[in-house]
Symmetry: C2
Subunit: 228 residues, 2 copies
């Protein structure tokens, strides 16, 4: 009586055991759904997130998800913002090094996204969640305290945003396929007649990503810093 149909989608809980309620899954909740979605994305990438797979992992029927969440898009939005939480550091004394603060904020941002390689390329295409807005607000406040006037503020923020996003998206996708990369560089070598310059510097392989990020950021900050 317990197993109504043998072909039914298996659930992780026991099927014909003695006390089917004991030790069963906790009830669904938005938090559990999003946490599991992040897991799925981390292990299987963007294409690995499926409403059906998500439900399976949660031990529920697919359609149960839709009571907690409007649609799959919404799952993406929430998973993305979840990954971008930022604990604002205790506001330190006033006249400290604003530049170090900015670098720290942006490096933390980048690190958060690299921990979840699917997140960076998703971010620019979705509506900005509260955690991202919070990061932007903090960045803006720091620049403001540093003396960047309001007329230059949006240029400053977007330049930094552009740079961080570009660096992180590139890094995240180049990382994923180190084998492909080696193959690409090999192909490049075979084509060294066409692309002699980038072939000789081993552009695709010899890149110190962290160093590149840091240096480009410094150049940008040099330009954006209020002239004294």
């Amino acid at each position: 009586m317990a197993g109504k149909r043998s072909g039914a989608r298996k659930k992780r809980s026991q099927q014909a055991e003695s006390t089917p309620q004991l030790r069963s899954e906790p009830p669904l909740s938005l938090e559990r759904i999003i946490a599991t979605a992040v897991d799925l994305l981390d292990t299987h990438g963007v294409d690995g997130l499926t409403m059906r797979r998500l439900a399976d992992r949660l031990g529920s029927g697919v359609m149960s998800l839709y009571w907690h969440v409007d649609n799959k898009e919404r799952v993406f939005d929430l998973a993305l913002d979840a990954v971008l939480a930022f604990r604002e550091p205790a506001p330190r004394g006033e006249a400290l090094d604003w530049r170090a603060d900015v670098v720290h904020m942006l490096e933390d941002w980048r690190a958060s996204m690299l921990r979840h390689p699917w997140s960076a390329s998703l971010l620019p295409r979705r509506t900005l969640g509260p955690n991202i807005l919070n990061r932007l607000e903090l960045l803006s406040r720091t620049l403001s305290k540093a003396g960047v006037i309001e007329a230059n503020m949006n240029v400053a923020i977007w330049s930094l945003w552009n740079y961080v996003m570009g660096a992180t998206i590139t890094r995240a996708s180049f990382d994923r396929s180190i084998d492909d990369l080696a193959a690409a560089q090999q192909a490049l070598t075979r084509l060294s007649a066409h692309y002699p310059t980038i072939e000789s510097t081993r552009l695709l392989l010899d890149s110190d990503w962290d160093g590149v990020f840091r240096k480009g950021l410094d150049f940008l900050l040099d330009g954006l810093a209020p002239k004294t």
Copy 2:
């Protein structure tokens, strides 16, 4: 005899006309397939490209595509590279303004991607096609002639790449949903208690994207320029 089954997928050619061969579709070819794919992407976005829709547009069966192309991934790769063709300008005199050359190359690159808003966010996640490699090679050569030494070359290229990609991806996706943007800014205003700084500068609305791009690029080039 001509219309074998009424429920068959309609083709754009006539079904029971007098001379069914006349005025029919030209034969399939990789070029036609890719050109149509680009069309589809331009008008319906990334999710609008479907093997079935592609075949429909071409007046062929779905599976016919697979003779010309390995799989859908390959269609993406080829469509992307097709959109990034670059006509190398006639090599002008020697000691000209390398900086103007670089800016021109990168602005052309950005413009090409903005003409096909789906392309920018696709590019970093795919293997680099010949047209992209060509652009990188040209950029590299220009920097080299400008005096950037080999040890600094990869940092220079990747910094510029990161910036261009970030700027273009952001611009392309913010453009697509100007209504969403206004809604987002409105939501921001409602939340001005939480995000006072970015709310007051109207970060989401008052952005001169072209100006931002140009300025940030200038700062980067200031930093990357060989010291004289």
